[in-house]
Symmetry: C2
Subunit: 237 residues, 2 copies
DNA sequence: CTCCGAAGTTGCAATGGCTGAAAAAAAGCA
DNA sequence: TGCTTTTTTTCAGCCATTGCAACTTCGGAG
């Protein structure tokens, strides 16, 4: 069921056209001021069709969340033997967030026991690369929108939450015997929570992308060392 | 502007009636199957009036979030001199989450420089107590709804996110010179993230309320000790 | 090459959340 | 009681989202 054939190709093209039109319109007129009908019209599709591609107006902005996230799962499943928890988490974080190339390069069918027939796999990875290209192009606009439109922020948080759950399970599996389910969940929550809030705080202060990234790293560092370490008198020394 | 007078009292009564009717209907027929019109009808108000009390159908379930959260802010602002970060956070967590009494008792206008005239303050705290009573009564239903209805879960996550931001700022103020804004945000993210995901994992496994609470504590513990501590060979000893 | 079935698209109609504006009712006050 | 301020109600309407049935297109058999 992967995807060859004219049909599938056309579908993907429409999907991306919808994403692109949506982002452009959201930027130009604002999210609330843009109607689904307008997005559909821009792509010359019936409004009804929009909803066969995306479950809601918000979701069009998260078209690649699933595949991005599956990379993360694969990395966890492919834990290197004896790899310490923190190292693995950092690898996952980098892979997911650097989000630029990665999918564009083609050298990483490393991990996870996945499936796929010959043709289908080629077609799929082509689509994946195309999606990555699109994501790259839309990245700044998307970022602005998600951080400034409440409805999109809410959607993002909810998606992230669900992702975290699945990551927990994967982590638990990868560290069977070392982490119980509760611990695994806590680990993911602590890690993601620290990075997320630190980055957000940095962003709120109007800092540059580099500084936001640095803030996220500091957040992770605090997660790794533990809150207790902040109480030590005479740190910063 | 606090609230004495028939007018204000009536308003609060209507507000609570809306909450109560909404929760009852959501439980009976499901969230999606309940219309705002029905909730309004149950309280004998015009549908339009519902939206002058709550900005959305979801928000009716979070009627006391704001005041609950303000307690948290007050506790942070009232940091005991020299109190270690972790201790304060635990106090905040307990105060907010035990959520049962607390507001019902009347012995805690301790912290934070707030305002209020004589009468208004009395009236307000009466309302607060009434809200707490209502919250207590609705707690189980509310819990079920929020954890099972996606729209409500999303709303809860978004509210929590905004709260975390403000908590970060408060923390930064309470530990001026000890925590910079990024650190403060990371601290809150790590703490809340750990507790949240651990509790959720416990819940997902169908565990009892006590175990969920215990899980949250373990999440906090991991947040405090740091992820790094989990890599130490021979913990669990 | 043509015809069939699957997959996808469209149009239509309806539901229901949410909003703005202006009229009507209630509460507070002189 | 008569005037002012708040709230509620009415009314009209936008738009997201959905179910359904008709219609089109693609891919593959014969």
């Amino acid at each position: 069921m992967g995807g060859i054939g004219l049909r599938e190709r056309k579908k993907q093209r429409t999907r991306r056209a919808l994403v692109e039109a949506a982002v452009r319109l959201f930027e130009e007129k604002g999210f609330d001021e843009t109607t689904v009908a307008e997005i559909a019209a821009a792509v010359e599709v019936a409004p009804r069709t929009f909803f066969s591609y995306f479950p809601s107006k918000e979701d069009v902005l998260f078209f690649d969340t699933r595949s991005r996230f599956e990379r993360a799962l694969a990395i966890i499943a492919g834990r290197r033997p004896g790899e310490p928890l923190v190292d693995l988490l950092v690898r996952v974080g980098d892979a997911v967030l650097v989000h630029l190339d990665g999918t564009l390069r083609q050298d990483d069918r490393d991990t996870g026991g996945v499936d796929g027939t010959e043709d289908a796999e080629d077609a799929d990875s082509a689509e994946l690369a195309e999606d990555a290209r699109l994501a790259l192009r839309l990245a700044p606009a998307r970022y602005d929108l998600i951080t400034s439109v409440p409805a999109l922020q809410a959607r993002a948080l909810h998606l992230l939450f669900d992702v975290q759950r699945e990551l927990s399970e994967a982590l638990c599996r990868a560290y069977k015997g070392e982490l119980d389910p509760i611990e695994a969940a806590a680990v993911v929550g602590v890690f993601v929570g620290g990075a997320k809030m630190a980055a957000m705080a940095s962003r709120d202060r109007g800092e540059s992308p580099e500084m936001i990234w640095a803030a996220a790293r500091r957040g992770v560092q605090i997660a790794v060392r533990g809150l207790g370490s902040l109480d030590d008198p005479g740190r910063r020394g």
